[in-house]
Amino acid sequence: MKKRFFIALGLTAFSLLILVGCGNDDGIPSSSVKESVIIAMDVESEPAAGFDPILGWAAGEHTHDPLFQSTLLTTENDLIIGYDLATDYDISDDGLTWTFKIRSDVKFTDGAPLTAKDVAFTYNNAMKQATETDLSMLNSVEAVDDTTAVFHLQTPYSSFAYIAAVVGIVPEHAYESAAYGQKPIGSGRYILKQWDKGEQVIMEANPDYYGEEANIKKVTVVFMSEEASYAAAKSGQVDVAYTDPDYTVRPITGYDILSFNSVDVRGINLPCIPAGNKTAPDAAGATLPAGNDVTANRAIRQAIACAIDREALVRDVLYGYGSVAYSESIGEPWESQTMKVEYDPLRARAILEADGWTLDANGIYEKNGLKAEFDLLYIASNSARTGIAMAVTEMLKEVGIKVNPTGSSWDQIAGLYYKTPHVFGAGMHSPAGLISHYYSGKNGASYSNPVVDDYIRQALAAPSVEASYEYWMKAQWDGNTGVTPAADSPWVWLVEIKHVYFARENLNVIDEKIHPHGYGWTITNNVDQWYWD
């Protein structure tokens, strides 16, 4: 007995030795400067228009902290609104006037003080630009005095607080549209030192920052593909490397795998109108073909919602780095629990049969000569979306719905998704996502319900952003009607994707805020608070 124990001990020690030996082979340089960090980010994260908030830097779907500039408000870790430049804000009773009081002790990095004039300048210019920041509700902004900015809105818009949390303030005296994005001057935590386009961004802590002093004095962001990011971490060239769940099957010695919660959800739009329709014309008057005969059937949409085993998607496609999602607002204050739906393939079949669908010889449902069959678009270069499309295809086949997965690029899909369901990515740090998915007009499902529209309008007209949460939830389900899987089900939400990174073992990455859709700069939201052991 004793002998066997010693043999076991010896073997364990031997295998440990081998493991340690392997670890040394990777050759991680032992001396890192303790106040700097190198982050590998995806290539798409490099902003084409530069770091200019007026041209959309930090805003839009992939919201993050602008780093070089300050914002009026900010979102806390649980996405409740907090304060940055603003010390207080007030909304008039009609919701049309927002008054911000701002700090008087803030200076731009060129030494000039930041005043309400700069705030007014930033917003008045940003609203003229067509960027991802939707400022169409704004009429004008005026600076009453150095510390008071008054925003005049065209319509009440309680979610404006979430916009004020991402638009960085630029200096009026040092702003020139063509050059600012390349060499931004701001009042944020970091200063842009160097930008080698297509390669890297180097930034240094702002010594005059009004907030807490940064632990990390120098941040280098390198832009690279997923494979290169993995290889860079493997050869010890970067401290934090973005990655995909696929890569976690081969961990890297000396690096931890970090996964961050996100509202980065994947879901499928199910066009609610019959084929042959067109979308509402855009600003240029162009329309796109819209509508799908199969998904226009409510029973089909409801059946799809309960025929998909979301747990299996998380386990099989995402390697466990995700969670089931029933709405695009997972973990946000306006998330509605009524969106939840049980995985029940038998119920899916029952729903279809109750609606008059019958099985054909191939085991596919049909009704009045219409087969329960549709194409499903997905972005082929994205492995998670490909996996989801393939898995959904198999799952829907089980309930007699035939799906033809069709891989493409986003450029192509952008013109097709109003008539063909697509594996979408969504999730914003703002309830505005609900508008883009469910409000009448141009939405991916061509969905229109006056009751839902009414709640959305009420939510926007709410006296404060906190008071609006209730209406956002009612827009999803008010007890009678809504967009839940048991009701109109225009979108089927599937999974939340955790954002996965390789990070050096001795680096403490602090990043508590739920990530929005899209990797990228979100990881740097709290980079100033990171520290090395």
Binding site: A231, R250, T406
Partner: protein
């Protein structure tokens, strides 16, 4: 003991070795059979090639899955065979169209007078002058990619070399007596070309056609690999290879090695078949 004494070395070689011609025929038949098998197997496996099974993902090659499985649990053997069969079908189509274009243009250039000849020769130089892959990408992209785009792109970019061969052959034939006599007897240019000259260049045409296959297949794979060819949900070899790239750094070598080798072997088989056929037809080597 006695037997070996009386058998001359020449007799041994006759008994044990096949002559060159039989060997060539065997190569040709084997090659073509193999290709036919791949094409048929791929067609039969079209469903298995896209069936995902997440319980069986990222598996190393084994007896059950000789080529392993990919990150969606798809059987790589089925995918490879399906991919090859798609490639072969596209190759057949594209090279047939290409060879037809070559035959028509080659004949026209040689028989329809100086102006036509100059125009066609200029066209040949033009198409040959543009970098091949670039031309393929341009055409395929303009036609909306997909199977149609690939076939047309490969078909209308591969004819120039064969056109030159056929043109030269027919120019030679023009100088032969029987063609001259046919002309003297009042036959039309077109009639002479179709009746008396085309049958003569048929062997060259056939060999050229078969030797176009490997080009067509490789270019289809290259085009698809670069994202300008087959749609990504189709298990084309180019798709399989480009998908495998991101998994190579994870050590999943089997995703690229087996499909790549299979493509190489297929191309070599076509080359072998074409080469053998030329040997059989070409009077200089036919009697070897």
């Amino acid at each position: 003991m006695d037997d070996t004494l009386v058998t001359s070395p020449l007799q041994i070689s006759k008994r044990k070795r096949l002559n060159q011609r039989s060997k060539t025929i065997i190569y040709l038949v084997l090659g073509l059979t193999f290709l036919l098998l791949i094409a048929v197997a791929g067609t039969l496996l079209s469903h298995a090639a896209i069936t995902t099974n997440f319980m069986q993902k990222n598996l190393l090659p084994s007896l059950q899955y000789p080529f392993g499985t990919d990150w969606l649990g798809r059987d790589m053997l089925a995918r490879t065979l399906r991919g090859l069969s798609i490639s072969i079908v596209i190759g057949l189509f594209a090279s047939f169209i290409s060879a037809m274009i070559a035959a028509i243009l080659g004949t026209a250039a040689a028989t329809l007078g100086k102006t036509v000849d100059e125009v066609i020769t200029w066209l040949v130089d033009l198409v040959m002058g543009i970098p091949h892959l670039l031309l393929l990408i341009l055409i395929s992209f303009a036609l909306g990619k997909g199977t149609f785009g690939v076939i047309v792109a490969v078909a209308i970019s591969h004819w120039p070399a064969l056109t030159r061969v056929i043109r030269a052959e027919i120019l030679q034939l023009k100088e032969t007596n029987y063609v001259k006599i046919a002309g003297k007897m009042g036959r039309g240019k077109l009639e002479i070309a179709v009746k008396h000259m085309v049958p003569h260049v048929f062997p060259q045409f056939l060999v050229g056609l078969i030797l176009l296959f490997p080009h067509a297949i490789l270019h289809e794979a290259a085009l698809t690999f670069l994202g300008f060819g087959l749609p990504p949900e189709q298990p084309g070899i180019g798709i399989i290879l480009s998908e495998s790239m991101r998994y190579l750094s994870l050590g999943m070598w089997w995703l690229a090695v087996f499909p790549g080798l299979a493509l190489l072997i297929t191309v070599l088989l076509f080359d072998l078949a074409g080469g053998s056929l030329r040997k059989l037809i070409d009077p200089y080597s036919a009697q070897d």
